[in-house]
Amino acid sequence: MKHQIPMLILSAVGTLLVVSVFVPSAQHWGEDATLYFDIIAVFAFFLGGGNLIRVHTEKVSHKSAGWIYSVVTLLGFGIMLVTGLFKIGNPNGIAGDLSKSGSYFQLLFQYVMSPLNSTMYALLAFYVASASYRAFRAKNTEATILLVAAFVILLGRTALGVLLTNWIPAQLSVLQIPNLAIWIMNAPNLAGQRAIMIGISLGVISMSLRLLLGIERTYLGGDS
């Protein structure tokens, strides 16, 4: 029963979602089904929050390695929860909108959360540089082709690319670096991406059928 009921729900909702794509009058059924998922996910948040508090409280109480980070996590969690739940500093009080500027929750979000998020995102620039350096080393034929293509695209998107090849006559304009860059992006790159997309779509169909037919059950903690 532990596996049969979830399987039944999955098959019923999955079939409903497929039907709602083709039957206009059933579209709202599909929307309702996804709404129920959101409701369940909200309740499940208590599980996540509870787990977070338990894991980090244990770490602090046992003084495990890096326990000080757990203190920061618990403080951050608590402060955001209390300011948000009780709408502390909210200009219109407890009945007001939490997203109004001036509330402590909004201030914390704007001046703590957003800069921290931006900092993490900004790290991506450095990681792109280091990954590109490794990927573009001409170790074999494929890597060399990748390097040349990347070089043309990078050059084609700068003013230098235009300057270097704008002497090429209009009849041979395809050989101008910016145009070559456009061609690489629109022809070989797009063709490759579409091939991957077709594969992904077929993979999703096959996986969905395995789930709907109950052949795949690993995610429920059962044998496949």
Binding site: S25, M113, G199, S206, M207, T218, Y219, G221, D223, S224
Partner: protein
């Protein structure tokens, strides 16, 4: 100086002349847009019909403006609706220039209506004749998706056929997937080094098929981890994934005959926040230095940050996603990458179960159809544009229609 004065005099005279000329009747740019010329235009034609492929309660009103919108003082179109049974007339909306169509979603399927359109020019209303009586209704099938349904049925039929065929014992060939072959090697290495394994199932919830695909692979990895007596660590960013992952790992430990070694803390919730989750995962990687990192699921901008951090600590990395934009990052930073469909094929590949393998074979039929259609499409389009061939143009249009959903 005198010459300059002469030029200035000439310019002033010319401007004065143009100013006077502009007041002469029939000479103004706008003078042709008078009420009389408006009256010369043919009447505006309006038609109303039940909106196609919808769930009812909607009528589409379409009109063709012979040129009123170009006239001076044009203020838009006012659409009115009359309920035939009750006789109640409602003014619906004033629509600006450029509109030739309006979808009225405030109708009832039980009533019939007529529509009239008034062109508003300088306060005057030029009203069209009423449309024919129209009634909205719901459709039971979206006709635009007929080909999608047919193709979907062919592919699903092929998948089911091969599943049944595999059940009957037909041997199916499956090509080797290096990333999945490396799982044992990665877990073995972690065991030898005495370090944990890190598993990330993406940052989406259980409603994403990529997350489910990630969890199905987790089942196989967790079984190997349990057999090798290694530690697995799985930070998650949604509560439902946490619950599902716990069930999956628990079952894997039970299957491996080591239920005592299972611990709920192997899977822990971190945060729903994308970059907060990345910061936590990077911290875990740097502090605990896992020997193997598995990044299997739906990833976005965080993919490279995680993969590069994993690379910097020297972990064996197996990644897989169906996000085409993130694949290059994984290829650059990880040892093995499951590209798109391989992520979905992984569970079948790892289980080796005939029914699952059959489903992969069915998807291959879809690939064969795609290849044939692409080939035929390329040939038809090339011939149609080079030799203006009618039959090839027909094939091209048919293929476009088949794969269009709009």
């Amino acid at each position: 100086m005198i010459a300059l004065l002469r030029v200035a005099k000439f310019v002033v005279s010319l401007c004065s002349l143009l100013f006077i000329v502009s007041f002469l009747p029939g000479q103004s740019v706008y003078s042709q847009d008078t009420a009389s010329s408006v009256n010369n235009l043919p009447p505006i034609t309006v038609k109303a019909y039940d909106t196609e492929n919808d769930a009812g309660s909607s009528i589409t009103v379409e009109w063709s403006d012979p040129g009123y919108w170009r006239r001076e003082g044009f203020n838009g179109y006012r659409l009115s609706r009359k309920n035939v049974a009750s006789g109640i007339e409602d003014s619906l909306d004033v629509l600006p220039t450029g509109h030739v169509l309006h979808e009225d979603r405030s109708v009832s399927d039980d009533s019939s209506y007529t529509y009239t359109l008034a062109v508003l020019i300088n306060g005057a209303n030029l009203t069209s004749t009423s449309t024919e009586v129209v009634r909205s209704s719901k459709q039971w099938f979206d006709n635009r998706l007929t080909w999608v349904l047919i193709l979907g049925l062919i592919i699903c039929g092929a998948v089911i056929y091969f599943i049944e065929s595999a059940k009957r014992g037909t041997k199916l060939f499956l090509r080797r997937i290096a990333g999945l072959e490396a799982i044992d090697e990665a877990v073995g290495r972690a065991t030898e080094m005495g370090r944990p394994i890190l598993f990330i199932a993406g940052i989406q919830d259980m409603d994403d098929v990529q997350t489910i695909a990630g969890l199905t692979i987790l089942g196989s990895i967790a079984r190997t981890v349990a057999e090798y007596d290694t530690k697995i660590n799985m930070p998650v960013c949604t509560s439902l994934v946490m619950t599902a992952a716990r069930e999956t790992i628990k079952h894997a430990y039970v299957t491996a005959g080591r239920p005592d070694a299972y611990n709920d803390d192997m899977v822990r919730y971190v945060t729903n926040e994308q970059f907060g989750f990345v910061a936590a995962v990077d911290g875990i990687m740097v502090r605990e230095r896992p020997a193997a990192c598995f990044l299997l699921g739906a990833f976005f901008a965080e993919s490279l940050i995680m993969a590069e951090t994993g690379n910097s600590i020297g972990a064996i990395q197996v990644a897989g996603t169906a996000m085409p934009a993130q694949l290059p990052f994984f290829v650059a930073a990880c040892d093995y990458t499951l590209i798109g469909e391989e992520l979905f094929a992984a569970s079948a590949y790892l289980s080796g179960e005939p029914r699952q393998l059959g489903s992969l074979k069915g998807a291959d039929v879809g690939k064969a159809i795609a290849m044939i259609v692409i080939l035929v499409g390329v040939i038809a389009t090339t011939i149609a544009s080079a030799w203006n061939s009618e039959s090839m143009l027909w094939i091209e249009n048919l293929l476009r229609q088949m794969f269009s959903t709009g």
